[in-house]
Symmetry: C2
Subunit: 193 residues, 2 copies
Amino acid sequence: MKLLQQRILRDGAVRPGGVLKVDSFLNHQMDVALFAEMGREWRRRFADVPVNKILTIEASGIGIACVAAMEFGVPVVFAKKSRSLNLDGDVYTAKVRSYTRGGEYDVRVEKRFLGPDDCVLILDDFLARGGAAMGLLSIVRQAGARVAGVGVAIEKGFQEGGDTLRRAGVRLESLAIVERMDADTGEIVFRGE
Amino acid sequence: MKLLQQRILRDGAVRPGGVLKVDSFLNHQMDVALFAEMGREWRRRFADVPVNKILTIEASGIGIACVAAMEFGVPVVFAKKSRSLNLDGDVYTAKVRSYTRGGEYDVRVEKRFLGPDDCVLILDDFLARGGAAMGLLSIVRQAGARVAGVGVAIEKGFQEGGDTLRRAGVRLESLAIVERMDADTGEIVFRGE
């Protein structure tokens, strides 16, 4: 998606350790007009699938998912990262490995909100090694729901998450795939360029 | 806001300990069409203020803030609850007391995203004792920005957060104010009824 690529080039910054900072428009300050364009693009790409629910994970996926959901006309469910006193008993859970922060954490979704009648699109801001996406896929499958696919704003093409999902037969729609980037020069190259 | 009150009566549930469960449409599964109506209502109520940025707090405020921001045509910034390896140095911070989970936590916003030229509307899902709102107000003031006001979906009128903000001269627009509720009978009474 050209618009997102241009925005990454203009406002993104490459940091050592494979970090792409896009927090001025994607995951700290959030440009909701851009999110609406992203939602329209996913809607176009998943037009053949009867998506009736969007699943994402807190925190930075929620804004993108909610604005995109306006385009699809469906509700959003977000997986919670920690046990909350307000959560009732019956939950699907999955373990997610975090490479950014280190360690593992649990994600959970109440069973009431996902079931066999659902066709679920998973949305998130980043796909790197695929930990979050695999956790969310596990939850959709535990629910017996149909996986419409996975949509991410930015795929780090130089990490294995995208290939892992594609090899597993998951339909993946990444709006921008960073093929390589260089913290010294600031260069960012997208796949297909 | 009648639509939200009706939804709370239909799908909300009162639990012991002053807990109002609205997670089927507000803060776990999220009805984004309802959020859009809420955004229009806040837009109407704050029509006289030149809001140019919306500030919220992760996680459950983000969806509401982003959909509402579509109505205002402004970006969203969300305060992060924990130190992240991807956050740069210069941040505003505030301590927030959590009554739901117990204890205190830090919230932080990068200084790049709030400054003296901003007129900031603070949005969140709940206002109970006011801990999160006070933390966000502190951050807006640290930035030297103008506080447009605070908008919450549900104010627990039987707890002190709303009165604290009003006494402090903060403009507060709560879309539904629960005057009292009863976990035994399930009764929910809104202010002004």
